[in-house]
């Protein structure tokens, strides 16, 4: 028996595709939603029904609570999966879904409310005895108060929107002189992305690792951890490469970390899948960073090492079923890596690179999983997050998963937009990465002057011109291509 007759997926891109796939395996029909620019997007094709929800601008479509609930009601969806980003951590949305008699696949509103803003979460965790980074989480949000608190904490200071995630609006401020401009910019970004501009300040600790624990609670008294992920490779405070297990933890640290994560989840009265993020300083001390009350982008590495399907578990928990797994049954095997492929130009300060995907071929092979939101012909617009796909590899050990990832990245062909694939390859090839010597400043330390693109080798250019010549020849020839060369006429397809 399917737990829900139909599920609406209130998201787009790779996560909407990925959620739809688990639903399909479970025999649950799905409803996609799409904004005007996403009418032909990949996530729409994966669904059984698709409802237009408004213009490109997210706040009028993917962030429009009333429209999403109306779409669910019209199509008879019994539950809504929010994915990540957008409304996934929005307490009002979770409440509104419940008020409409539907099931929100995620924690209930009060949990989002308590943990969804960093300010409240820091206070709750400190009260529960989980250590937090020294900082400021007060209600007085005047610019002058924040500037004074920043000076008290000591430079550099990390500026974080109390709401939000994904690195948006986060900034390291290195001196009092920079503070006012940085605060204003973070507040603007925060307002645009999350609809609020309350800020939290934290001491910026250099050379820290970002380590997080996946948790799962069923609301019937069971709260489990699904081991950790390390996400220290970041760019602009946005995760780029994640892995599990972390190469920076020993067995004793793991025990402590898992216990802290479960304690945090219990303190938050957590239900469904969530993530407790920690900062691990060079001395091996943990600090609670925040709790993400949703599925993470990087959940696939946990799936690879634990063998669990987190979306399936989310759906079962949302349906009120107790989790039958015991903690000791959740064991990891091998090592998994995830590389996020972004439409950003690593040679030009990571400028977004929207455009049409003229060719996309995901890598294939044993131990490789690609979760993609694009296909050849997809349009990458300026309206949404520039993440195109996640390449996930699994291996018996970290060496094998790195080997597989390097082979996979070299076969990930994306044409039409500029991607960060060259930087991902450089990171994977770096000796310090191979040794597992990771910290959140890894890219600045090791690859700050990475940007030295090499021109295509002469042989490649000649081959490309030959390819175009062949295409032209045959497109000048008589109408239909011959059986011997059926593809010739396609070589030249123009995408204006």
């Amino acid at each position: 028996m399917s737990p829900f007759r139909k599920i609406l997926i209130a998201n787009r891109g790779e996560i909407a595709v990925r959620v739809a796939r688990t639903c399909r395996a479970m025999g649950i029909p799905t409803v996609a939603v799409f904004s005007e620019v996403d009418r032909e997007a990949l996530h729409v094709r994966e669904a059984d029904e698709a409802v237009a929800i408004g213009p490109a601008e997210a706040r009028h479509s993917y962030l429009n609570i009333a429209t999403l609930i109306a779409a669910a009601q019209r199509t008879g969806a019994m539950a809504i999966h929010p994915g990540y980003g957008f409304l996934s951590q929005n307490a009002d949305f979770a409440d509104a879904v419940a008020a409409a008699g539907l099931t929100f696949i995620g924690p209930p509103g009060p949990v989002h409310h308590a943990m969804g803003d960093k300010q409240g979460a820091r206070r709750l965790m400190a009260a529960a005895g989980v250590s937090v980074v020294p900082g400021y989480d007060g209600d007085d949000q005047q610019d002058s108060t924040l500037a004074a608190e920043a000076a008290r904490i000591g430079w550099p200071v990390m500026l974080k929107p109390s709401r939000g995630g994904g690195g948006k609006g986060m900034r390291v401020v290195r001196s009092a002189a920079e503070f006012a401009a940085a605060l204003a910019q973070s507040r603007r970004e925060s307002t645009a992305a999350f609809g609020g501009d309350v800020m939290v300040l934290e001491r910026f600790v250099a050379r820290t690792r970002h380590v997080e624990v996946q948790v799962l609670a069923d609301g019937h008294g069971t709260t489990l951890h699904l081991h950790e992920r390390e996400c220290s490779i970041q760019r602009r405070h946005q995760k780029v490469i994640e892995e599990s297990p972390s190469p920076g933890l020993d067995a004793a640290q793991r025990v402590t970390l898992y216990a802290a994560a479960v304690a945090a989840a219990r303190a938050a009265h957590y239900v469904n899948a969530g993530t407790v993020e920690f900062l691990l300083d060079p001395e091996g001390r943990f600090y609670f960073l925040e709790m993400n009350t949703r599925l993470q982008v990087e959940h696939a590495v946990t799936e690879a090492v634990t063998g669990l399907d987190l979306v399936r578990l989310q759906i079962q928990v949302a349906a009120g079923k107790p989790v039958v797994l015991r903690q000791e049954e959740i064991v990891t095997r091998g090592h998994a890596l995830e590389c996020r492929v972004y439409a950003e130009d690593p040679d030009h300060d990571d400028l977004p690179s929207p455009g049409r995907i003229l060719f996309f071929a995901p890598p294939e092979g044993p131990g490789i999983r690609t979760d993609s939101g694009i296909a050849t012909g997809s349009e990458v617009t300026v309206d949404y997050d520039p993440m195109l796909a996640k390449v996930v590899t699994w291996g018996r050990d970290r060496t094998e998963s790195i080997e597989r990832m390097r082979a996979a990245l070299a076969r990930t062909a994306v044409l039409g937009v500029v991607t960060n694939l060259s930087r991902l390859q450089a990171i994977l090839a770096h000796p310090a990465f191979g040794r597992g010597e990771l910290h959140t400043g890894f890219l600045d330390e090791h690859l700050a002057d990475f940007s030295r693109p090499q021109p295509p080798p002469p042989e490649a250019l000649t081959a490309a011109i030959a390819a175009l010549q062949r295409s032209r020849l045959s497109s000048k020839g008589p109408g239909a291509p011959t059986a011997a060369d059926p593809w010739a006429s396609l070589g030249a397809w123009r995408l204006a």
Binding site: D349, P354, L358, V382, S422, P455, P458, T462, A467
Partner: protein
Amino acid sequence: MIRLLWGETELEVDPRAAASLDVRPLGPGTFVLRRGDAIETFHCVRDGDAFHLFWRGAAYRLEELGEGHRAAQRHATGALEAPMPGKVIAVRKAAGELVVKGEEILIVEAMKMENAIRAPRDARVKRIAARVGDMVAPGAVLVELE
């Protein structure tokens, strides 16, 4: 010779050398090159006057230059261009104001990230060619400095 532009760099290809290569199409955008026993599968897609090439794990965008065509002078002195398509969300300066090197002049948002257009040198603003709310295309001149 065929002249190609890769970024700001001009490259040349001998069309006869290309014509003599054993290159065959395998599917949309996919080709195979053979030289003796060596074999190389690559991807190549035309896009107007440009084409995109995927070769041994790396992607390249190339523009074909016509006869006598010169690479455009992309950075006319004093003109600041939009680095990517996006929406102007803030304009900090007006025509006639002085700016110091590194100072924000305006901000373009795309994919939820803000990108500041900053003064490359100390100068006086001659013209601001965009307003808050404008959607701008890459290469569009946003600011002229004196």
